[in-house]
């Protein structure tokens, strides 16, 4: 008797799986729907973010508590990080609206707000006492969470880049933390090739995430920003606000590109393929003297599971420049009080709020009941009681963004930092957050194409030697001009001005 091609056991597996699916994948949040305060009884809110544990973990952890208190059910859905932008945009643009709220990157507001996808929460925020809106650092309040003067997101995380250094090495040799990019290069050169963590292998002077389509384009602007913007956030660091001409074909950007390429000489051999996960791993296992990164290194460094350099890490505001761009001539000129009103010791610093800081926003197309519940949940996550604890935990991925978070060192000491380390880390954060010259990340329509496609590709080709510096500059300029023209030069100009709160 010939054997049938589909043994019965295969059918059994299918049957069992279906059975399992019916019982197993049940509603995990059933338990949370206790009889709590009836405020949002029975409302289910679906929140979309990327797969963690960063960012998703605190949301998932605190959702049951919120559910118990208000009767709402919070369902946290996660997708791979690289596809978050597409998922959200296709969901809202096609009218599917399967997500009620998002925890995403406010930089993307340029694509969302003009098309009415996000709920305007200005009034809610004003009326909300528990949120302590004024405690949030001005930059995140006024620039990061707002678009055209209205508020659309609730900050949960503060993103900006700093420079990190091995405090033990620099202290031993009496070297000051880098104040300018020339200092940075000098320190990198000094420590490159030496054994920095006692394992007998040569280590590296500087580790920067230069991998294509990862974080490279932010790193490059962390360097370029100090040369391009000096008069305050509203001056903008990407375009000339009057003509929408990209600020790349000038001596400032060219110098920055050269510096960016030069750091590769003091870096690991495959730095061009390292993303921020790799560089953090290298820094916290003691193999780099310097790095440029978001706030994560500070919290990762105190975790014994991931770090061998506890208490050996110092952070400082992003190195700056003593010369800045004269936009009329395209050349670099020395700093003076008029040109660099925010200079510190004659050096113009421009801390770059890269990416903007994970924030929560509400889908404008869902029911009011759901919107209310979603707002309350996001406000709950951002309220000092919850947020101040979460920012001290490395695994949450939340970095400080409230003034109270970096004034009170106790929480940090409790989390494992020594007093000196906490003072140093929080001091650097304070310097950056309070700088009036912080750079707002580009948030006009198609910002993802400007940075993620044109800039990123040209940078990768420049670093790999496929293009020389001037070719790269020309490629970025023509690529950006094309996008601007395709979108409409006037529209883009207006969007850019509005994002910078430039009053006309």
């Amino acid at each position: 008797m010939a054997k049938r091609p589909f043994p019965r056991w295969a059918l059994c597996i299918v049957g069992m799986s279906l059975l399992l699916a019916a019982c197993g994948g049940g509603d995990d949040n059933q338990a949370a729907q206790d009889s709590g305060g009836p405020k949002h009884q029975g409302v289910e809110v679906t929140v979309l973010t990327f797969t963690g544990p960063q960012i998703a973990e605190p949301l998932q952890r605190r959702a049951p508590d919120f559910g118990r208190a208000t009767g709402a059910t919070i369902k946290v859905v996660t997708v791979p990080f690289s596809d978050l932008y597409d998922k959200i945009l296709t969901d809202v643009a096609t009218g599917t609206n399967s997500y009620d709220a998002f925890v995403f990157d406010p930089q993307w507001m340029g694509d969302f707000v003009p098309n009415g996808y996000l709920e305007d929460i200005t009034d809610r925020v004003k009326a909300d006492q528990a949120l302590k809106w004024d405690d949030i650092a001005p930059f995140f309040r006024d620039f990061s969470a707002s678009y055209k003067g209205r508020t659309y997101t609730i900050p949960l995380d503060g993103d900006f880049q700093m420079a990190y250094y091995r405090s033990d090495l620099l202290k031993k040799d009496g070297v000051q933390p880098p104040a300018t990019w020339e200092d940075y290069l000098a320190i990198a050169e000094r420590y490159h090739g030496k054994d920095l963590n006692g394992d007998g292998k040569a280590d590296y002077g500087s580790c920067i995430a230069k991998k294509r389509a990862a974080q490279s384009y932010w790193m490059s602007w962390s360097i370029a920003g100090a040369y391009l913007q000096s008069e305050g956030t509203s001056q903008g660091a990407f375009f000339d606000a009057g003509t929408m001409k990209p600020l790349v074909n000038n001596e400032g950007f060219a110098t920055a590109l050269d510096i960016y390429k030069r750091t590769t000489q003091f870096a690991p051999a495959d730095e061009l393929n390292l993303d921020v996960g790799d560089t953090r791993g290298l820094f916290t296992s003691g193999r780099c003297a310097l790095s440029v990164d978001w706030g994560d290194i500070g919290t990762l460094a105190i975790d014994e599971k991931t770090s061998t350099v506890q208490d050996k890490v110092g952070s400082v505001i992003l190195p700056g420049s003593k010369r800045v761009l004269d936009r009329a001539t395209g050349r670099l000129v020395d700093c003076d009080p008029t040109r660099c009103p925010h200079a510190i010791d004659g050096v113009n610093h421009a801390p770059f709020s890269a990416f903007g800081g994970w924030s929560g926003a509400i889908n404008a197309a869902v029911d009011d009941k759901v919107k209310n519940a979603a707002y309350d949940f996001l406000a709950y996550m951002s309220a000092p009681d919850q947020a101040n604890e979460d920012v001290t935990l490395g695994k949450t991925g939340f970095n400080p963004y409230r003034i109270s978070q970096f004034e009170n060192t106790d929480l940090w000491v409790k989390a494992g930092m020594s007093k000196t380390a906490a003072d140093n880390y929080l001091g650097a954060i304070r310097d950056s957050l309070q700088s009036p010259n912080m750079i707002l990340d580009l948030r006009i329509p198609k910002s993802a194409q400007y940075q993620g496609v044109v800039l990123d590709t040209a940078l990768a080709q420049f670093l790999a030697g496929e293009l020389d510096r001037d070719q790269a500059i020309r490629q970025i300029e023509s690529g950006w001009d094309k996008i601007t023209d395709d979108e409409g030069r006037d529209q883009q100009k207006q969007a850019y001005a509005e994002s910078l709160n430039i009053q006309r």
Partner: protein, 385 residues
Amino acid sequence: MDAGTLTGDRDRAAAPPEARTRSQASLGSTVAVRAAFIWPALLAILFVSIFPLLVSLYISLSRLRLRRGGFEFQFIGLDNFRELYAGGEQAHFLGVARTPTPLGWVVFGACVGLLFWGLVRAFQGGTSVLGIMARVLGALLAAAVLWLAVRTLLAPGGRPGTAMVTLIYVLVGIAVQFTLGLGLAWLLTQGLPGQRFFRVVFLLPMMITPVGVAYMFRMLTDTGKGPLQPLWAAVGLSDFSWVNDPWGARVAVLVGDIWQWTPFMFIILLAALEGQDQDTVEAAMVDGASRWRIFRHVTWPAILPVCTTVVLIRLIEAFKIIDLPNILTNGGPGTATESLSLHAYIRWRTLDLGQSAAVAYSLLFIVTVAAMSYVNVVRRRVAEE
């Protein structure tokens, strides 16, 4: 009666013609029967393929605009294609072409000579006017691709674009995968002890999700955490970063691709080899024929149809390679490992759907031409045998 596979109906020759025709005709005599067998499959394919195909075509001729409460596609004609073939993206897509080295000229000359010789043979063989025109067109296309290849690969300062890189992945990858797959499958039908173990082990790479394989290879090629570092150091390559050198990175992608897809060839060819008629093989062995002769004259013709099919399927799949270059190096260093699919994906990720669809349609065109040429060449070669 036109119902052959790629290589024609040879097995049917055994039966007497009249009996074959009569009973075979009775097999598929009613329209209902004929329809019932094929329509479910046709409908399923049509359902998910025709809409995307046509919509993609329209998208490639337009630009996505997000609007209040929705989106629209603004028709812009051939702008996307113009940018790709002659505008800012040309260096990215086709590559940077320079004057070839002497070696380049030699290679080009030799290949053109071969093409010409093939054409002459075809004329002598005698074919229809349409056939001749098709062949000449095909030869011209092949020559153009060769010219581009020589000017980007065998020329100082030249750089291959995503189209050329994809072609390299496909040709080298399939050649190695097929040889390896066939060799391994054949070895495992020679009655060696322990062959069951090998058969299962050799199937493993294909089972892993492509994204997982790509991350695995990323770990393996890492100079810091990769396990092969001591090996490279022993050979003197400790500072060589595979993924920072254009050709090193391409080799890494090829190795990953071959590792992952050899099992595909292997399993199909294994089933084909196992399905062979054992009597003929044994008879030949008893007659004292060597293994090679048996393979060449008995096995190879029997599995030829399957070989051609499996190469065609893999050809079409290989052109779509994306996960390995994406995860290994994100297309880097620079644009050295970027394949056409990755090129389209990078554009698509930032919602530049028009440009992405233009690249996808260029890929469609290239692969269709390649597949049709392959099918024609194979059919002709086999018919001559």
